[in-house]
């Protein structure tokens, strides 16, 4: 569409009127003006002639970029002149003021006009990399796309384009296939092999109906294509679609990273206390994350090295730590293998829970089997201890089953997944009466067992703080 077929915009008449007035007023005063001001007038009239030349031809519609530049220059000179002589020449000031208003109207008008005339596609602004070996093509594309708000960076070769991708976060690549040096096909291959760039949409531009070339590119991962000479509106539409694809991909990527971060956090937080399997279980079930306090039936295991305090008095601190770490390391592996949750290490004692955060039918059985495995492992630990000149050690293990509150316990600043309740105290009480190499389980644990075990002595014990006695049983092994 050209200016000849559209109604003449009002601002054109206004600008012509203002220039005419300015020229007349200038001719009256020109002999009294300073050199600097005269220079400004020369420039503003130069710009005016350039604009009038554009108005006289149909250049206006096709060169809106040039029009903007002329208007910007006019505005600058008009503002300068007002600063210089506005105060002393009120007539000139009024004309310049009117001219500035007309320029503003022209600016607004031509923006609207060019948008209307070419049916520009409006889109979120994107960062476009245009790759073409010919400068006039690069400028054509840059102008067409920057007019609707995109940022266009250009590259004259595949090599240059790869450097641009390294430096900028590009939304869409517009690629000319025929280039000297690294050609479009090779460049496309490099992009699609790159772990980060491969998601960046590539629109290939090819000469006269080169369908084979296009098909090859689509197979190589190109997202869209255009034939030369292309329709600017079609280009804008495809760029818009490309940007939207890229935005969706970026969003998806963001969600995935967030999920990975969450998973890492959960693994780091719980991984030290829970077996891998339980952590995976929690991650796979969204409700598993809601670890608010709740009542759980669990089997609690407390193990303790007999006489460790007096034993450690005869060893150097480093020896105590090294011996303890070996012991706790072996025991941790065994507890995790039995899907127990280690609540805490209290010096040489280990407090573990079976049945939280995940309840299983065989919680009590796994607790008992775990205790048996722990006692069986003591022979190997003691063999190593003796080899290094450390004394042999023995542990007593107590197991009790009951309802406890499980949850994140603590303050905002520091909390951990833990357990509270009377059964915890009862377990501790049972542990007090357990001898070395012995496993004692409460009556409630015994009732919960599904497997068959060889039992030893049974005993009634008092529990501190409440008037209650409970029955405990010695476990000697599994029945085969």
């Amino acid at each position: 569409m050209t200016i000849n077929t559209s109604p003449t915009p009002e601002w054109i008449d206004h600008i012509r009127r203002d220039f005419e007035a300015l020229r007349q007023e200038f001719s009256i005063h020109q002999n009294h003006l300073g050199e600097l001001t005269l220079g400004d007038f020369t420039h503003i009239f130069d710009a005016a002639s350039r604009l009038e030349q554009m108005l006289d031809t149909s250049e206006l519609a096709t060169h809106s970029h040039d029009l903007m530049n002329v208007l910007t220059a006019l505005r600058g000179y008009a503002e300068m002149l007002r600063e210089d002589i506005g105060a002393s020449h009120s007539n000139l000031d009024a004309i310049l003021s009117s001219l500035l208003e007309s320029v503003q109207a022209a600016h607004n008008g031509s923006t609207v006009q060019s948008a209307n005339q070419s049916r520009d596609i409006q889109s979120d602004p994107g960062f476009i990399l245009a790759v073409d070996d010919r400068q006039e093509n690069r400028e054509l594309v840059a102008r067409n796309l920057s007019r609707i708000g995109h940022i266009v960076i250009t590259a004259a070769s595949g090599e240059e384009a790869l450097r641009a991708l390294e430096q900028s976060d590009v939304d869409v690549v517009l690629l000319d296939l025929i280039m000297p040096g690294m050609n479009g096909h090779e460049f496309l291959r490099r992009i699609k092999e790159h772990p980060e760039w491969r998601a960046t949409p590539v629109i290939v531009i090819s000469g006269s109906q080169d369908m084979d070339g296009i098909i090859e590119c689509i197979e190589a991962g190109a997202d869209d294509y255009l034939f030369k000479p292309f329709n600017p509106v079609l280009l804008q539409a495809r760029i818009k679609a490309g940007i939207e694809r890229k935005r969706w991909h970026d969003k998806e990527q963001q969600y995935r990273l967030q999920l990975e971060r969450n998973e890492k956090f959960i693994r780091a937080t719980f991984g030290r206390y829970l077996s891998d399997e339980i952590v995976t279980d929690i991650l796979e079930r969204p409700e598993g994350l809601e670890l608010g306090g709740d009542l759980r039936r669990v089997s609690i295991m407390l193990s303790d090295i007999r006489g460790f305090t007096s034993l450690s008095e005869n060893l150097a601190p480093a020896q105590v730590v090294s011996m303890l770490n070996r012991y706790l390391g072996v025991m941790t592996d065994i507890i995790m293998a039995h899907h127990g949750t280690i609540d805490e290490f209290i010096g040489d004692a280990i407090l573990a829970v079976f049945g939280a955060p995940q309840y299983r039918d065989d919680d009590a059985d796994r607790a008992v089997k775990c205790a048996l495995a722990m006692q069986a492992a003591m022979a190997d630990i003691n063999a190593l201890n003796e080899a290094e000149g450390f004394p042999a050690i023995s542990t007593g293990i107590a197991i009790n089953t009951g309802d406890v509150i499980a949850g994140n316990i603590g303050s905002e600043r520091r909390s951990k997944y833990g357990f509270v309740g009377h059964p915890m105290n009862v377990t501790s009480r049972i542990e007090d009466v357990t001898a070395g190499d012995e496993i004692l389980i409460s009556e409630s644990t015994l009732q919960s067992l599904k497997g068959n075990y060889r039992l030893g002595r049974s005993e009634q014990i008092n529990v501190k703080g409440i008037d209650e006695t409970i029955l405990v049983h010695q476990v000697a092994g599994e029945k085969t």
């Binding site: 220079g39 040039d66 220059a73 503002e79 300068m80 600063e83 979120d124 920057s146």
Partner: protein, 124 residues
């Protein structure tokens, strides 16, 4: 601005470039010019201007790429760059900052505002 400080104006349109030079001169600033991003980088190296006014939509090497390269180049990375673009969206401002520009102005330029930015960046 102290004596000996110069502004590099990077603008491809001659009409506009002349207008801006005249106007900046009028404000007491010494101005050197470049017509594209590559020239701008060369002049930044050779002349070490106090501040750069960079039109971002330039031929040969555009302002985005030129700004990025300038900020990767140790010998000129400390020269402040004010980006000049025709677009007033937040995205463009962010892009300019990401390209390493120190400040941002939209065209048509509010000249008194631009002078303030120049003075702020050259005060150090």
């Amino acid at each position: 601005m102290t004596a000996g400080q110069r502004i590099l104006l990077v603008e491809d349109n001659e009409l506009n470039r002349n207008m801006m030079v005249r106007r900046l001169n009028r404000a007491g600033l010494e101005v050197i010019t470049a017509g594209n991003g590559q020239q701008a980088l060369d002049i930044m190296h050779a002349e070490q201007p106090s501040v750069v006014l960079m039109d971002m939509n330039l031929p040969v090497l555009d302002g985005w790429a030129a700004s990025r390269r300038a900020k990767e180049d140790e010998s000129i990375r400390d020269i402040p760059i004010i980006a000049l673009t025709a677009h007033a969206t937040e995205a463009h401002r962010v892009y300019a900052m990401e390209a390493g520009c120190d400040d941002y102005a939209t065209k048509p330029v509010d000249f008194p505002g631009l002078l303030t930015k120049i003075r702020e960046l050259t005060r150090a």
